[in-house]
């Protein structure tokens, strides 16, 4: 008798917490998204789709979504390509490998809060090293975090710095699986460095690319700490992202109904995106993940 239930005994502890802190919250969010529940109402009042309608009419919401998209696109692609590029280089050189790996990967280890501190200093328009450097080259010195045109860009640059090393290591691992014979064959055919890697390496690291892509998408939705510490979403809403906007609605304005609606939308979008990417590109990949 016990035999039958043994698997569930093994599963039970983790399942309990999984449901309690992931699935129950999802339904909770959904439930409250259909209610008006804020400082004004004090108790949740059913209101149907009102929160969603308000959200769709809220220009700030669209700005925030737009920011998330821009942030995602401009962190994912540059990081991915640079990571692959650097991984290939490290793979091909024979000396100083560890130095390069450590030096490029350490940002992943440093707590985001610490990174935010030092980058706030570097971005300081008058004292910071970036503008001082630009000044030496007689280039324009933007306001970075204090200018709505560059606030999001500032966060993007920092994100690339922070994640590059991790994706690079993933690609390095993926590169090890490519049979050397393929490179030798390409060399014999007279392919130069770029063509060699474009035709051999790039397709064959596609499982890693898929993984990096999915992880990056999820990462780009998680952004909070740096926004909270460096810009508070500002100036205006130029650097506000979804999680930050949810935080503001919930904990600054105490509008739980709206925050729940935003949360529900975010979950849906996340799941949709990941499944989409997986569905479209997963087939192209020569492994089955499950």
């Amino acid at each position: 008798m016990v035999r039958k239930y043994k698997p569930f005994l093994f599963l039970l502890p983790s399942l309990v917490f999984l449901i309690l802190f992931t699935y129950f919250p999802i339904s909770y969010s959904l439930f409250y998204s259909f209610h008006e529940y804020n400082m004004y109402t004090r108790k949740p009042i059913f209101c149907g789709l009102k929160n969603y309608i308000n959200m769709l009419h809220d220009s700030i919401f669209w700005q925030v979504v737009f920011n998330n998209v821009i942030y995602g696109v401009f962190t994912i692609f540059p990081t991915m390509f640079m990571a692959l590029f650097l991984a290939i280089l490290i793979d091909e050189v024979s000396k100083f490998k560890t130095f390069y790996q450590m030096g490029i990967f350490y940002p992943t280890i440093i707590p985001m809060t610490a990174a935010a501190m030092v980058w706030m200093f570097m971005y300081d328009p008058s004292l910071g090293i970036i503008n001082k450097f630009l000044g030496l080259l007689h280039l324009p010195q933007p306001g970075w975090l204090g200018d709505s045109k560059t606030s999001l860009l500032s966060l993007i640059i920092m994100a690339i710095w922070k994640n590059l090393g991790y994706y690079m290591l993933l690609y390095l691992a993926g590169l090890q699986l490519i049979p050397r014979e393929l490179y030798e064959a390409a060399d014999i055919e007279g392919a130069n460095w770029f063509r060699k890697h474009y035709h051999v390496t790039f397709p064959l690291v596609s499982p890693t690319t898929l993984f990096v892509f999915i992880v990056s998408i999820i990462q780009s939705f998680k952004v909070f700490t740096q926004v909270y510490l460096m810009t508070q979403g500002g100036p205006g809403y130029s650097s506000s992202v979804l999680v930050f906007y949810i935080y503001e609605n919930a904990f600054r304005y105490w509008d739980i109904g709206m925050a729940s609606a935003l949360t529900s939308v975010m979950i849906l979008v996340l799941l949709f995106l990941v499944l989409l990417v997986f569905g479209v590109f997963g087939k192209r990949v020569t492994y089955s993940l499950i």
Binding site: S14, L89, Y100, M102, G103, F221, T225, I246
Partner: protein, 273 residues
């Protein structure tokens, strides 16, 4: 011809590495320089005489050692609970056949795609209902059912050959003994990898501790640093960098001592085939 190409590669790598190292360099040297020196723009060169006054101010201003202790308790608490919960679950999925195994597993996989950041509001309400606001345990619980860990370990457990399992059954080993004496030692590199990833990830937790804690007695390093900024912001970058160095030092030290293990861990943290 080949040699020239090689040198170019080294140059490119070198430039990238040095550029990436700049922030770390700044943190370290500015931590040991007095604020007014930095103020007047002299922060690029390492200090001839390291100035320890910044650290003194850091520890006098806020209980950073308490924060350190709390962070350690929370991070290792999370790790231990994760291992305790995830190893049996991974085992069940990897080596036991039961109905609904695939569907249940999907639940774990989906969790990977839903970071806690997406669920702060309802999770906050739940913790509040449980009366756990402002406790260390509140910073631990939501993270312990790790879909990622379950996935990773299931992968590794699946790779153990059936013959070993058969041998164990013949020897009269039950599930638990098999797990403990055979699988876990064989899966050690992956468990180590997962542990390092978990430590690095949760050392950085910010949003969740921010909303569930208030008191300095349970506050963690990242929150402490964040609040510290408000006070000293702009006034004294030397002090701020000293605090920054302090909160990063433990993980950085771990990183430098276990270099190869770290690099290997993160390399294999991808979910390959």
């Amino acid at each position: 011809m080949k040699k020239r190409g090689n040198i170019i590669k080294h140059i490119v790598l070198f430039v990238f590495t040095i550029a990436t190292l700049v922030p770390l360099y700044l943190i370290v040297i500015m931590a040991f320089k007095p604020g007014d020196v930095i103020f007047h723009g002299n922060y690029l060169l390492p200090p001839l005489k390291p100035f320890l006054g910044n650290f003194k101010i850091v520890f006098e201003s806020a209980p950073f050692f308490t924060y350190l202790l709390n962070t350690i308790i929370v991070v290792f608490g999370i790790l231990i609970f994760q291992l305790v919960l995830v190893i049996p679950a991974a085992y069940a999925f990897a080596r036991m056949n039961f109905k609904g195994s695939n569907i249940l597993f999907m639940l774990y996989v989906i969790q990977i795609m839903l970071p806690l950041e997406a669920l702060i509001v309802p999770n906050y309400m739940i913790i509040r209902k449980l009366g756990l606001i402002d406790t260390r345990i509140s910073m631990i619980l939501p993270f312990i059912a790790s879909g990622y860990g379950t996935f990773l370990l299931r992968q590794v457990f699946k790779q153990i050959p059936k013959e070993l399992e058969d041998a164990a059954i013949i020897d009269g080993c039950g599930h638990l003994k098999f797990l403990w004496y055979v699988l876990i030692p064989l899966a050690r590199p992956t468990i180590v990898a997962f542990s390092l990833v978990s430590i690095v990830t949760h050392w950085q937790d910010y949003l969740w501790p921010l909303i569930v804690t208030n008191s300095p007695s349970v506050r963690t390093l990242t929150i402490g640093l964040g609040m510290f900024v408000q006070q000293e912001s702009g006034a004294d970058w030397g002090v701020l960098m000293a605090a920054t160095l302090f909160i990063s030092a433990p993980v950085l030290i771990l990183f430098f001592t276990l270099q190869k293990t770290f690099i290997k861990s993160f390399m294999t943290s991808g979910l390959k085939g």
